[in-house]
């Protein structure tokens, strides 16, 4: 079996295993897995409205996945996508409501604010990693909680003691009457195009730019990069900043597209953590991220249909997603299994 085939098969098998184990969980819990998965399917593709909502759900997943994947490609593990997304969400919501400008300036400004906020949240762990060699995993985890508490406090200030910000002005909105109409008045907005454009940006940076060559060098082997005269510190910081900017834009999808504001949160959105799964499933490549985000975005949105249509708790999909992450992470053993299988076939 060729390596390329195995690389494609590992995520596919992980997804199948995840769905299978999910079915077993449903069976054991006394639910009907067939009815469950039919409800899930209909929740995703049942009608044009569902499709519109599903695509809408995919946009932030693409950006969260890009953020994780970009950092991975440069040797960094950004668990802080969640926090970067939250600050991006707030920044976009704030700029969207607080200033009044023509759309041509206002919308880009709000997007930029989200990207900048996310980038700033990535900058801190990047700086600490580059200058003091503090491990980014721990710092980004801590930054997530700081983001959550801080943004909640800021919402309270902006909302004058309330629990959600005012709606953004139309001039900052990503909402699209056209997209909404063709999908039976779903909340589908222009965000998906921004997400796809960012997919191209990531590919362009990594595969076409000198910066990409340097980032990948630093990611694979810091010592060799330093030997080759690259500025390792600058590249680590750049990687975290760009990664954070992707995540911040993910927050903007929610602020400027889906919700139009931000409410104070009891816990995380989960999008950032799912971004890890998206990136892993997509083998950290830009196109792979689109694939991973499509899967997880669909599962997440489609799950909403499961309690109504099959009386199954929505969390079953979270279980399936967690299992898929688990299986993709354990790719080594799937690989070994596939290689054995391949050998047996050759022997015959």
């Amino acid at each position: 079996m060729s390596n390329r085939l195995i690389n494609i098969l590992v995520p596919v098998i992980s997804i199948i295993l995840g769905l299978l184990v999910g079915a077993v969980v449903m069976l054991v819990s006394g639910y009907d897995p067939v009815a469950g998965y039919i409800a899930l399917w209909n929740g995703i593709f049942g009608d044009t409205y569902a499709i519109g909502e599903t695509i809408r759900q995919i946009s932030p997943y693409i950006l969260a996945g890009l953020a994780v994947a970009f950092a991975f490609r440069t040797g960094l593990f950004n668990i802080g996508v969640e926090g970067q997304l939250i600050v991006g969400w707030f920044a976009a919501a704030y700029v969207g409501m607080a200033v009044e400008l023509p759309k041509i300036i206002h919308l880009p400004l709000a997007l930029l604010a989200a990207a900048a906020a996310g980038a700033l949240w990535g900058l801190i762990p990047g700086l600490l990693k580059a200058t003091l060699k503090v491990h980014e995993v721990i710092v980004t985890i801590m930054m997530n909680y700081i983001a959550l508490h801080l943004v909640n406090a800021l919402i309270k200030v902006v909302a004058k003691g309330g629990f959600k910000t005012d709606k953004i002005h139309d001039t900052a909105s990503l909402r699209s009457d056209f997209l909404s109409e063709i999908t039976d008045f779903s909340t589908l907005h222009y965000g998906i195009f921004i997400a796809l454009f960012m997919v191209f940006i990531m590919w362009f940076i990594l595969e076409r730019m000198k910066l990409g060559y340097e980032l990948k060098s630093v990611g694979f082997n810091e010592n060799a990069a330093q030997y080759a005269g690259m500025n390792v510190k600058k590249n680590i910081i750049m990687a975290m900043v760009i990664s954070g900017a992707f995540a911040g834009l993910g927050g903007a999808m929610e602020a400027l597209g889906t919700f139009g504001n931000m409410s104070s949160r009891g816990g995380f959105t989960g999008i950032g953590f799912d971004g890890i799964a998206v990136a892993l499933l997509g083998a950290n490549t830009p196109l792979g991220v689109v694939f991973g985000a499509t899967l997880f975005g669909s599962l997440k949105y489609g799950a909403n249909n499961m309690p109504n249509a099959a009386n199954i708790p929505i969390e079953i999909v979270s279980i399936v997603i967690a299992l898929i992450i688990f299986f993709v992470a354990s790719g080594y053993i799937i690989r070994v299994g596939l290689q054995r299988l391949g050998k047996k076939k050759e022997a015959k």
Binding site: G30, I146, H149, E315
Partner: protein
């Protein structure tokens, strides 16, 4: 003076109560990471412990009476230990990225718990338990002026247990053959292997111990503070325990100290409005404090090379 004492009489016991679940979990983390396995799944393991603790308590309160919270803790320990086997299998046998596996454990823990809660109770959170963790007055010690009311009056039984576990962990890790093997496996697994030590067996054991202790931590937290289980019952305590472990330099007593400090920060955050000179400090700063301090500690005085050397690497026999 008396107001300060009055404040301390509130804050100190509350700090210790908040610290106890962190101590259990952080020490679990010490075992896992000393053996060379990163465990950021502590949060998910705590969630599992909190869920099992509450559900067991609700269902068996009539059977076990006053013993219910303690037996619930045991049940939580057991289930979380079994749950942590997933992390062990993935990161030790399947050579998965240990951080990713930990993320999966966190997602899975909350998903399974909420799924089950909805299945059992038909709503997003459980009922409230009636049998909470009991509080004691420690005879004689409680009569000591100043210190007595601070440390020895209406103490949670779980707090005493937490401190006992910390001391026991120190003894096990630094004085027994198992501890020596645990440390060697996390530092230089191949050296341990050549001495006939079963590296992966020790690592499995360490991860399962961490699961059990995190389970206890979760059950203690839920049965002390929230008394029911819902999606936000455990909200960062696992990561705070992880921070305490790092802050304590992977040492059980250090981790306990850090946990006590974080408990203090949480106690302050919750009661700051009632404290005369704290009422104007926005509580957000106190909520952020443990996390910010961890970052500062990592950046500053803890330095770089403190974690076990072989941490994060699966041990593959015969490779150099």
């Amino acid at each position: 003076m008396s107001t300060i004492l009055g404040v301390l009489y509130i804050i100190v016991p509350l700090s210790i109560a908040y610290a106890a679940p962190l101590i259990f979990t952080a020490i679990g983390g010490v075992f896992s990471e000393r053996s060379g396995v990163i465990n950021i799944g502590l949060e998910g393991l705590m969630v599992m412990g909190a869920f099992v603790g509450i559900v067991f308590n609700l269902f068996f309160a009539d059977t076990f009476g006053a013993w219910t919270p303690w037996i619930s803790i045991l049940a939580a320990m057991l289930v979380s230990a079994i749950f942590s086997l997933m992390h062990a299998v993935a990161s030790i046998t399947f050579r998965a990225d240990q951080v990713v596996s930990g993320v999966a454990i966190n997602l899975l823990g909350i998903a399974i718990a909420l799924f089950s809660v909805k299945m059992i109770f038909g709503k997003g959170q459980t009922d409230f338990i009636q049998k909470k963790i009991p509080r004691f007055n420690i005879p004689y010690l409680e009569d000591i002026p100043v210190l007595g009311p601070m440390f020895f009056k209406t103490v949670y039984g779980s707090s005493i247990l937490a401190i006992a576990v910390a001391i026991l962990a120190w003894f096990v890790i630094f004085k027994t053959p198992f501890g020596l093997r645990l440390r060697s496996v996390g530092e230089h697994p191949m050296a341990a292997d050549t001495m006939g030590i079963k590296v992966n067996r020790i690592r499995y054991l360490a991860v399962v111990i961490s699961g059990g202790l995190a389970g206890i931590g979760g059950a203690v937290y839920a049965q002390t503070f929230t008394n029911d289980f819902g999606h936000a019952t455990i909200n960062g305590q696992g990561f705070m325990a992880l921070a305490a472990m790092i802050f304590g330099k992977w040492h059980p007593i250090g981790a306990m100290g850090a946990a006590l400090f974080f408990g203090f920060a949480q106690a302050l955050a919750i009661s700051s409005s009632g404290i005369p000179f704290m009422e104007n400090v926005p509580s957000v700063f106190l909520y952020i404090l443990p996390y910010a301090l961890t970052i500062i500690a990592l950046a500053g005085f803890i330095g770089k090379a403190n974690g076990p050397k072989a941490i994060g690497d699966p041990y593959i026999k015969g490779s150099r």
